[in-house]
Symmetry: D4
Subunit: 229 residues, 8 copies
């Protein structure tokens, strides 16, 4: 099967390709990584199966490797590749610990897009008092966009969006069983939010949430550098 990498995409969009590893065979992932490395000097792979991970570590042993275990993600870069540093600042919050793998996907891609990323994990919903402090810190550090990941009842993004004057990206996770389980209630609840200014991505789409937040943050950062353009 021929692979047609789209080298113009990153330039056009300001967002890198990410290889979705879960349903690909190891050989396919390696070929795609090679194509991306040839094109942009960097390849990002998400949801690697463990045998794929081992193979990549072996094949690309002369490259710089950044592993993000929880997200089953890896960044391979040519030794001379310099990751951008835009000055954008993205916050990533999770309701529980089960939401962390998906949140880590968002963190990884936002970092690769040049943002500073601050993660606050497992703030709970039952104990909202635990949320207030860290949120205040984020805001006083000029966070530009916040991703909030939650499964089950998906209430946290609405609560955060009701408190902060910053765009919030709701990231539902496939946590929960029974009716509304696997992220369904979380997604619906975010779509039905009473809070203004909450936009959402699909269940478990950490990459989408991270890219959106980083696009926002990078645009703000650019404006900081180029005032009154």
């Amino acid at each position: 099967v021929t692979i047609r990498p789209d080298p113009g995409r990153e330039r056009r969009k300001g967002a890198p390709e990410v290889v979705f590893g879960e349903t690909k065979e190891t050989a396919q992932v390696i070929a795609m990584a090679q194509a991306l490395l040839a094109g942009s000097g960097r390849a990002i792979i998400s949801r690697m199966r463990s045998e794929t991970k081992e193979a990549l570590l072996d094949v690309f042993r002369d490259y710089t490797i950044r592993l993000r275990e929880a997200a089953r993600a890896m960044v391979i870069s040519r030794p001379d590749f310099v990751r951008p540093d835009t000055g954008g600042h993205v916050g990533i919050i999770t309701a529980g610990t089960s939401d962390v793998p998906v949140a880590e996907e968002a963190a990884l891609v936002a970092e690769e897009m040049g943002c500073r990323v601050t993660c606050i994990y497992d703030v709970g919903v039952a104990g909202l008092h635990r949320l207030v402090g860290p949120l205040r810190d984020l805001l006083s550090n000029d966070v530009d966009a916040i991703v909030v990941a939650a499964g089950m009842d998906g209430a946290l993004p609405s609560v955060v969006a009701g408190l902060v004057p910053v765009p919030v990206i709701g990231l539902p996770t496939s946590v929960g069983y029974g009716l509304g389980g696997k992220g369904m209630a979380a997604l619906l609840s975010m779509l039905q939010t009473c809070a203004p200014g909450l936009a959402v991505v699909n269940i478990d789409n950490g990459i989408g949430a991270g890219v959106t937040a980083a696009l926002i943050a990078n645009r703000v950062a650019q404006a900081r550098k180029h005032p009154l353009r």
Copy 2:
């Protein structure tokens, strides 16, 4: 069509019959009300259409009438009927103003079952600070069970259930449009709650929520009167 009232039900269950008026013809509602008045001295009608309301006011003009406009509900009682006073205390909270009609159904039936009912309406979710004071008051007045009505994202019942040591009944309301609208997201979100001790009834089922809360409150009230039974 013959009507078979079940006079033993109130005695057996401790909860009165409630006539669901929305899909019944006026003549049917009148016949049912007469049967219930003959049996227990009281008839409760919910979701009356306005022509039914007028007809009932006319037909039962010699009876004691209690109207609850927002819920489109009416209680008709024989002049000699004495409503019980159990000493149970039920709290009823709504997220928004659109949830009030359904909450009023719950309030009405809990009162008819002999409970004291305290209503706190439109506390919002975005401004949770507005919730804290009234909730503290409820608890310090020994509330026995709390009904929390919410539509759209349905987040409020989970928030309340995470804060209070009292059984909470989640009452989703058919508020909201789009995916998860008409109470669907609210119901799913309550079923997926992260908070322990939240049980739910169906969308817009104010009667069911009120009866459940009153059954709890009455049982507690009875225990207060008959210690160490």
Copy 3:
């Protein structure tokens, strides 16, 4: 990944944290158990995978262990931990034998919250005559709340709620195949109940049903001890 136990929760809510073992790695469960033991002297784990169970038995061999095999649940307590005895009484009924594992979750958590628990399993629906005797016994022993677990058509909770003057918690179980299978028909049927005073939790949520019933029972028990408070 950092874990943020919420030690205040049990005090605030009167209900203990329960670790959901199914999707957690053994190391995560052990860390959470240690945090909970440090906080409250007790850790409850539900839906353990078998390797996790073995590891816990090994790691916490100096602690008091209570195993509930059918529910794949375990309670680990410090030798000096004294479980409360509130005097509350919870009844737990199942329609079939397949509903037992979920019912056992409810029983376990209600016991850990200090309640006496009476279980009546596999009463069937086809042979309702088999239900009458045990139900009468429950009522004459002052049961404060009843959990009724059922899969497939989910008819039993409605039948019970139509007979007893006690709050009933419907607990749908993921039993059944085809349309409405995996507990869907059971849940919908309970939400659509004709019986007043039936509230429900999500499919297979034994913990939620048990906590709700125990909150009710404990509140009644407290009232028995503190009359006319």
Copy 4:
């Protein structure tokens, strides 16, 4: 638009055509009735809108008319038409009064197919004791098939099918609101029945239930007349 009546159908199937009036214009219904009268001497119309009813009464004033108001159904027959009398016996039971219109459709078509029909309406579920007597009567009168109509939780058909040694047709009705409303929970619950020997038709399909029951009853009746054929 040309209409193609299928005159052979009744002979082939032993069941008459029934015109579904709800979505048809009056002129269409009249034309269909005329075609059926020409073919078999009888036309059955269900779910007539009221203006259609008036028009039919007028147009066919020289025919024998049988009106079934609750079902919004009408049977028009040539004066010389002789309805068959097969000796089959069909029982029709409803859970509530709201189920009656659909049950009446079943009754009507079973009668037109030559059966004796016994109706028992509004037996409730909460008070199953009210069911036992009438059911015993039915059985001792050699009922050949029983249709049980129920909306909301749809529990009654399962209960009946668990008690009687006769084929039971479950007939869900579009009663109930919220999740599982409009007959959905009732249908799913019947499909998930724990009772053996319960088959179902679609929500509100009284005609289908009546035809099935009458086919069974007529076959039994025929066997009574032609033993050891």
Copy 5:
């Protein structure tokens, strides 16, 4: 876990208990089989896992065993058990070969209820001409009820019900992928049938279809023996 067999059921209903083996452990199945053998002299097990089958063959090696491989079903009977022979006749038709396992469940239980069973498998839909001959044979052999099993588009039961003057039980099977797959389109299509006199059971519920058809057939057979009762 205690098992409560319901010995009165077969007498009450005229249909035997069938153990659903798929989700039960071998030890549970053996215990249930022993209870049923003690009660009625026969135990029917459906959907056995293969290790359960081996164990049953071993444990009950002194009993009479009837295996139905395709249905993964087994009948164990005490050597002295005499299966009834009612004279009822049930026809079972499948659209394809994938529907056969479920059809075999229906055949097995109808036979155990004393019926003669005629199976016609894989008649297709595209080639309806292949259906006509066998159907004519069935009818001329006085079949009392016909089960028609179909997956995918589920069209066959409607076609058959449009042709024969005998009650037809539609049995959707979980065949097909994509939207409407796993029997969903088949079930919906049967519920929406244009043919009168088609009743359905749930997806893959061969037992339910077989019991219903046998109840009908046995009732007819009994009438043949007891004319003008």
Copy 6:
């Protein structure tokens, strides 16, 4: 609101724009018709509300009008407009009379695209014998594509596709109530067809079915004229 007609579309696609009248205000429809008349000399409007129809008849009284009442559709053309005649031949079949309005939409647009259209309405499913003759006629007249419209169980398109060596377009119609009603079962059933070579359009999308069939027929017709191109 500015309207941007896409004049190049008809040339590019070989299919005309069709205005969907149901949700548009009369003024909007008139403006669109004027734009289309200016562009291509013809405007096609489907699903007109009756007040819109009257207004169009008035405003365009100097134009050639073709009304298709059943489809609530109208074709307005400049007096000098010459409709193409391609030589393509499209067959359109309906299962019942309720499917006719949608079938007429398909017929209209195929005719406007230059095809000869043969309609066969209300062939039923129960009496498939009624289908055979007309189908044979169609085939012997070199029909190039067949649209089959059906609601309820949607079985007819599969039956036709199993018999003819011509591409078949399944057109589900929103006929039927209860589960799978409003065309859902019909659509799913067509998607799950056992017959090869059946493609479908959405429920009630007569325009889509007609355009697809006409595109096929016109391509065949063109090949007839330009052999061995």
Copy 7:
């Protein structure tokens, strides 16, 4: 019913309250408008019914009124109210004309939040060439965020997000009938987008899309003014 306006919300969130008029009685809307005018000097009402519109025009005749007919929206402001001008720039694109009312809601609220708004309506999908020019203009005018509204197949937001380096908010509209109609396919398609950096709001939630886009734009605008903060 008491109304509890949340005056702090606009300050806290940077987004104004918007009254949802569709399900409110005129008296309720007037009361809410008065409360908001008292608090912030401005009241925004969306989805007014026409009688409400007339009443508002009358009651608030001494105020400044801004009507947005297509969106059925109105802004009432105290004569001395000065709308902010932030310098943010929001683009709003629709696929068709039916998407305009919802797009206008987004435009209105973004303007009220101080943004410059550029609208490009009815760009179609079939003629993507019509999209390219206007999109290039938007980008060269430093647009900060783009809302793309689309119903039916919802393909346009993905296409736009694949082309521009700016955050895109997908706004599905309830346009379309049949399966996936009323915006469902549009929403799902946006959630499943292949394009990175597309976040969505619920079907028809123009307010939510506009607030999110304006929050982004205002943050960028602020950075332009306060470089290197």
Copy 8:
């Protein structure tokens, strides 16, 4: 289990039987292949499990084998079998690489029906410019029908159908996770297409898409050979 091959089908329909291997046992597949080889000289098997593939290669080692690995499909033919060459031309396009296996099914069956097949894989949606060239080539080579396979948002078929004057068959693939995943959004989006002349088959039904396209192409090819028939 008896197998009833339908030898007349290929002659009647112009489309060969294809054995669906996924759910069949190896022995069943071999028996079916033998029956088809005996009948028509060729057997096509799709979705073979790998053990089945090995067995077929062994059993039919004296036959001509054509393997299509990506589709897990195989064609076995008698050495003397001559595949038809009709002159029809089918184009097959995929959005991504994950859609290739299903596209290959379509290609295989179209080739076996005698068509020339041109495949264009992984054209993407984000970079539509990559689509234009190959599409122009297809059209200038007189392609008769085009299959477009896409998962996730399913936007590509609508885009193609908006550009070409040839019938397009949309083939949704089960690619994508979260809400609308597994091909659901893709299918709905195609059903809701804004482009005229797009018909669809079910998710992953490559065979159905290929047969439909080949039926169209073969009909056109036949007309090319037999002009003005």
